[in-house]
Amino acid sequence: MNIKDGVFQIISNGIDDKDFKVTDSTPLIGDSSVLDSMKLVELCLALEDFAEEKGFEFDWISSQAMSRSRSMFKTAGSLATEFIHQMGVKK
């Protein structure tokens, strides 16, 4: 499983509808988000653990965390991109 699939799997784990397929455009914040605020924080904790497995520290604190245009949580794709970016920079 590559890193992006790993991130998508972790997102899927937090979605109640087990048939839902996570794609690049799956929204994680805003009105059409598939996660509520509690699930979003749980996702952050799970990604922190995943990053630890991969040997780096995932920083999910951001001034733009809840911004619909610039947040890393905007979509599943943007979150995976940020995760991979931090892995590249910090490893």
Binding site: M38, C44, E57
Partner: protein
């Protein structure tokens, strides 16, 4: 394990000693921990990076965190118009930002267990609007606001967040305040009596007891205001 900030003296130290007497594991944070008689780590709570180091160290250690007491605080009695900017900055950074930094970095350790209690500290000076305490009261009013909102954010994770607002308790924080000034403040409380560190420890003990699980986002004013 319960993390207590400001653990080297005053209320923070009294709380650590009370929790230890109840055979609870305590982890103290203070700028100077050289005389600590319990596990401690040096930390300036107004430094985000230092608090982050503490959170990482605790996580690495694998200790389960069940509570956080944000007791670190400083006071400076002065009129707002004569308070130097560096003092105002220092008060806000230690009292308000220190509470925020510790809460946001230690709380995730509790969120994993879906259990915990966070206790913040304000002051009766906020409710009474005490003269000569404007900046101090402003920093603590911020702590009260943070407590109420953060309590809602933490409720999903079964973590209670409350705030204790003492009147003038006999600790080093009262240095420079005359007995007459203390009497004048105490006289404005609903129960016009000066309480002691043990009374605050009783409330801390109560908030760590499962019997207070229905309380969150609340302000407990010692002596009443």
């Amino acid at each position: 394990m319960i993390v207590v900030t400001g653990s080297s003296r005053g209320l923070g130290l009294a709380i650590c000693e009370r929790l230890q007497s109840l055979e609870l594991d305590v982890f103290g944070l203070a700028r100077n921990v050289s005389n600590a008689t319990f596990p401690s780590m040096s930390c300036d709570v107004s430094s985000y990076e230092e608090v982050k180091k503490v959170a990482l160290a605790i996580k690495k250690d694998g200790k389960k965190i069940s509570g956080l007491v944000n007791a670190a605080g400083i006071a400076s009695m002065n009129l707002a118009v004569t308070t130097p900017p560096n003092i105002s900055k220092n008060i806000i950074e230690t009292n308000l930002l220190g509470t925020i930094f510790c809460s946001q970095l230690i709380a995730p350790l509790m969120m994993r267990n879906k259990h915990g209690s966070i206790i913040n500290f304000s002051t009766i000076a906020v409710s009474l609007g005490l003269k000569g305490e404007s900046v101090y009261a402003a920093s603590k009013a911020g702590v009260e606001g943070f407590t109420r909102s953060f309590a809602r954010e933490m409720a999903d994770f079964n973590i209670n967040v409350n705030c204790i607002a003492p009147g003038p308790i006999d600790t080093s924080l009262l240095n420079g305040i005359t007995p007459k000034q203390i009497h004048n403040i105490v006289a404005q409380q609903i129960i016009p009596k000066q309480f002691c560190p043990d009374d605050i420890c009783d409330l801390v003990e109560l908030l760590f007891d499962d019997r207070s699980k229905s309380l969150s986002g609340q302000l407990l004013q010692v002596g009443g205001a």
